[in-house]
């Protein structure tokens, strides 16, 4: 009788020990699962990206066929000084956190006329200063007046002539004008396809960053378990 009670107590203690060790293992399982989930999402997004790129290339080939290959070529790329209309905002995340996980946000069709923003490093401001030095004093004053009148509110104010839709149409048209005034509808379709590619690339960049963060966390836990 006492032996069986003793055995029952031993079994109970073993059960408590195993549940404690399982509880210790759970955080590691979570990290590994997070890593595997992000790998799965990354692969799915890359598959989607491949499909959207194929659509874009197909439409570009169609535009080349209707407009002629000489009218859609790299020889026509605009090599004059101009800013990108589509940018990627980077949020570097919490500086206190050990896991640096940057977050990317796509900004499409920003106005290239009123450059109120500057990327990190102030390279755009430096370019503008150089441009002002090379231009005449009269045109510099006009440019400065324009900048003071048209602040960042231009993009969101409904009463200003530059409403978001008209600004987007204007920037799209500017981009297409590289290949001439009259372009094939297929070229416009290619433009839209590559815009959706950029949206997918934003997601890919974010999933990649979370995958790398999960990977670093798993490595850290492996190192801790070795001690």
């Amino acid at each position: 009788m006492e032996d069986s009670k003793h055995q029952d107590v031993e079994i109970e203690e073993a059960q408590v020990e195993s549940s404690c060790s399982e509880a210790q293992l759970l955080p590691k399982d979570e990290t590994v699962l997070e890593l595997l989930d992000s790998i799965n999402n990354y692969l799915l997004l890359m598959d989607s990206l491949s499909s959207k790129l194929r659509d874009g290339w197909f439409e570009l080939a169609g535009a080349r066929q209707s407009m002629g290959s000489s009218r859609v070529s790299s020889a026509l790329f605009d090599l004059k000084y101009h800013h990108a209309a589509t940018l990627m905002e980077v949020d570097h995340g919490d500086a206190d956190s050990n896991l640096k996980q940057p977050h990317f946000t796509l900004h499409k069709w920003l106005s290239t006329d009123n450059q109120e923003f500057s990327p990190e490093g102030g390279k755009f401001e430096e370019d503008e200063l150089l441009q002002r030095k090379s231009s005449s004093p009269h045109s510099t004053e006009e440019h400065q007046e324009k900048r003071s009148e048209n602040g960042p509110e231009v993009l969101s104010s409904p009463s200003s002539p530059y409403t978001p839709n008209s600004n987007i149409k204007k920037e799209r048209a500017k981009s297409l004008s590289m290949f001439g005034t009259l372009v094939s509808p297929k070229l416009r379709d290619a433009q839209l396809s590559f815009e959706t590619v950029l949206e997918t690339l934003q997601e890919v960049a974010n999933v990649r960053s979370s995958m790398l963060a999960a990977y670093e966390q798993v490595l850290k836990e492996i190192e801790i378990s070795k001690i």
Binding site: S74, L79, Y81, F117, D127, L155, Q191, V204, A205
Partner: protein, 130 residues
């Protein structure tokens, strides 16, 4: 998405590209192209005449610039400078390997996936717990 006002911020940065002509053409149509006052572009068109040295120099230049958030590299181009791509470990700019018209995406060559795959192939997490 098209109706939302685009308000630029100070953390906005460029997207650089090292790819074939068609891919670059498409992204330039989407408004990604940038030319600075020194006529330097944020892209490199890779064709049959482009040397590996030119690709390496562009990759090093784009990854060193503070005004670039993402560098898109066609995977077949990344394979030409694989050592450089695999040894790159900064979070920004992020290097994204993309497929090209003639070379579909291969997960086995992706530098990020290779790094993670190594973790599972050499020693599994389960074996470390024993």
């Amino acid at each position: 998405m098209a109706n939302r006002a685009q308000i630029p911020t100070n953390n906005s940065a460029l997207i650089a590209m090292i790819a074939d002509e068609d891919t670059i053409t498409g992204f330039l149509l989407a408004g990604v192209g940038n030319v600075d006052i020194r006529r330097k572009t944020n892209y490199l068109i890779v064709d049959s005449k482009t040397t590996v040295k030119q690709i390496e120099d562009s990759f090093k230049e784009f990854t060193a610039r503070e005004d670039i958030a993402i560098v898109l590299v066609s995977q077949y181009v990344a394979n030409m400078i694989r050592f450089l791509v695999d040894s790159y470990n900064k979070p920004i700019p992020a290097i994204l390997e993309i497929p090209s018209k003639d070379h579909p995406y291969d997960p086995a060559h992706d530098s990020v996936l290779s790094r993670v795959k190594y973790l599972f192939s050499s020693e599994s997490v389960a074996s470390d717990r024993r």
